[in-house]
Amino acid sequence: IIGGSDAPEKTIPWQVMLSVDGGRGGGMVIADRWIMTAAHVLVKNGEKVAPETVRIYMGQTDVQTLTDTFVFPSSLHIHPGYKNPNLLTYNNDIALMKLHQPITFNSSVMPLCLPAEGATYHTGIMGLVSGFGITIDQGRRMLRNKLKYVQIPLVDQETCSNSVSMFKRIRTHVPDLTENMFCAGVPEGSKDSCQGDSGSAFTLREQGRFYASGIVSWGIDCGKQGTYGVYTRVTNYLPWISKIMQEN
């Protein structure tokens, strides 16, 4: 998380840290046996990773204490539309993990709501993104091992698209922005999610409840001026989520 703050205990109880084959990712608890994350966190070299290589940590804000306990998922469910052989196609970047045993919720571990069907994304509305990913301190990329959060606004799809297009002109290998994605961030940069936050939730709050509006997916650098973080648009996947949970 770039430009954010340390999250106090129990403030983001749905936050999950994933350790996948040595890499770090994020996720969110959405039910007592289900974790939602980004597909690219669970796919390496075009292949779904084995469930036993995925460690799931939850309930703490400090990685030092978080590592004491973890669980393995019983199954991984990558969205069938996620095909990203060259790491340039993050469309449908969503995945679910089922747990062996249900979680008993408390103030440290609590599920995040899913958006209501047809929930709209209003430009400028402030969301909260969190994660155990890297941060930038005095220009240096750091891994602080603390859960951090930052509040950033939703960005108009066109603005975001223009930003991506602009970078495509000056850079090669920039992923495409699709309707299954939305952007959040500030044009001046310095507030963003970053590597290690992938799969974490971008949440909005409505009527006192936080819900998963987006999943940290990709971005051009982190916190860079004129760029935005790109998130999976969860609302588009409610039928799939429901189907996977019911079938499993």
Binding site: S5, A7, P8, E9, K10, T11, I12, P13, W14, I30, A31, D32, T104, F105, N106, S107, M110, P111, L112, C113, L114, L128, Y149, T203, R205, G208, R209, F210, Y211
Partner: protein, 436 residues
């Protein structure tokens, strides 16, 4: 081969009947039925030349040469003797019929003869008058008519002699096992023979008690002494199990005597002198009584009677929400019977309040007792979810009541099972900042 038994019935007809009979005829029929029966002869038709005294043609009916009737004519003839519709009953089991005709038959009216049938009729030997030879009645005491014969029998205290007709005093070992009966001393109320030694045993099914009801005309010779009357030479001894025998004598009837026993032995003794006219009694039996069973708390005893006797049944049912318990064990149903000993075969059970057991635990919730004790009938518990992390499906906590069928039942019309759903997106701590 032995002679076959005579037939029980038959038919007799004049020659050529129903054609006119021939002249110069003399035909005889010997009818017989088995011993002990009489013959009843009934004419279905009789049309014989009518004459005064049946002089020309006739049918003569005889029993052992005794004339029972001589018939001729027809139903409408002015002279002659027609039997009409009245049957002829022979005194014994034989009958002779003789049909005679002279040498001429009237030309104007052709007589057809006769047709008759006969059947054996049982003789009631017992109601026959005493024979005039002073040999006495057929049976000296009891006569029993049977089909074709009769049997003699004797009162208690006597037995049939070898002549199968007269009775001799013999009154040992009489056993009376009917629920009620009548007993009397030999010859009662006439003066009995001397030196009687009779035993009567009334023995009915256990569970019944015998009561003796002596008639008023009680007379057993007693001897007056300085100490009062004693039963010295004549007596009736009443013996009951496990009790001292009691000797009865005198002129005063003991009246009603409740023995409280299913077995009573009576020994009647007279010596060869003195005068005792004897006694008689009616005995009855009553069912043994069992004590009043009392009541059962939280239960119902049925049927409710004023008194309970041998073979009466009692049933106990518990009130709604209570169960039958006996010796610490639950029983499904209970009934007890009044035994022949006068005791109930099982003591009454108790009714204990039923228990629904521990209510099922609720995942991510808990149960609290609202009212009642130890999960007993009508106890109320409330399920609630572990808030704020879980909330009840439907938004309401549900109360369950321990029902009479030992099931916890929801008091909620719609929700019959509580489920706790996780609460999402509502952290207990919110990120807050005051800096602007």
């Amino acid at each position: 081969l032995p002679d076959p038994d005579p037939p029980m019935f038959g038919e007799v007809r004049s020659p050529r009947f129903p054609q006119p009979y021939p002249p110069n005829l003399q035909q005889q029929w010997e009818l017989s039925v088995p011993e002990g029966f009489q013959i009843r002869l009934t004419f279905t038709h009789l049309d014989i030349e009518a004459s005064a005294g049946c002089h020309y043609d006739s049918l003569t009916v005889l029993y052992q040469e005794k004339l029972l009737g001589k018939f001729c004519g027809d139903e409408n003839s002015a002279d002659g003797h027609h039997p009409g519709n009245h049957p002829i009953l022979s005194p014994g089991n034989t009958l002779t019929l003789i049909f005679q005709t002279d040498n001429s038959n009237p030309e104007r009216h052709q007589n057809l003869g006769f047709s008759a049938h006969y059947q054996a009729t049982d003789v009631d030997e017992c109601s026959a008058p005493e024979p005039p030879d002073r040999s006495g009645p057929l049976c000296s005491q009891i006569c029993l008519n049977t089909l074709g014969s009769y049997l003699c029998s004797c009162h208690h205290g006597y037995e049939l002699r070898s002549d199968q007709r007269t009775c001799v005093l013999s009154c040992g070992g009489g056993i009376f096992d009917e629920p009620e009966g009548h007993l009397f001393s030999p010859g009662f109320p006439d003066t009995p023979p001397h030196a009687v030694s009779c035993q009567y045993i009334i023995s009915v099914e256990p569970g019944f008690t015998v009561s003796l009801n002596f008639t008023d005309n009680f007379h057993i010779e007693s001897v007056d002494t300085e100490d009062g009357s004693v039963c010295l030479h004549h007596w009736l001894q009443v013996t009951l199990p496990d009790r001292e025998p009691v000797k009865l004598c005198g002129r005063s009837s003991p009246g009603l005597m409740e023995t409280n026993s299913s077995t009573v032995r009576l020994d009647y003794h007279t010596d060869d002198a003195g005068q005792s006219r004897g006694w008689s009694l009616d005995y009855r039996t009553h069912r043994v009584q069992c004590p009043f069973p009392g009541g059962v708390a939280k239960g119902r005893v049925t049927p409710i009677l004023m008194e309970y006797f041998y073979r009466d049944y009692l049933h106990v049912r518990c009130d709604l929400g209570y169960k039958l318990m006996m010796d610490g064990q639950e029983i499904q149903s209970f009934s007890t019977m009044c035994q022949s000993s006068g005791r109930w075969h099982l003591p009454l059970p108790e009714c204990h309040i039923i228990d629904c057991g521990e209510p099922e635990p609720l995942l991510n919730g808990a149960v609290t007792v609202l009212s009642g004790l130890q999960n007993q009938y009508r106890s109320v518990v409330q399920y609630h979810c572990n808030e704020p992390f879980y909330s009840p499906l439907g938004g309401v906590n549900v109360n369950f009541t321990c029902d009479a069928d030992r099931q916890w039942r929801s008091t909620h019309d719609i929700v019959d099972r509580m489920t706790c759903l996780p609460v999402c997106g509502q952290p207990t701590e919110l990120i807050s900042g005051f800096q602007r």
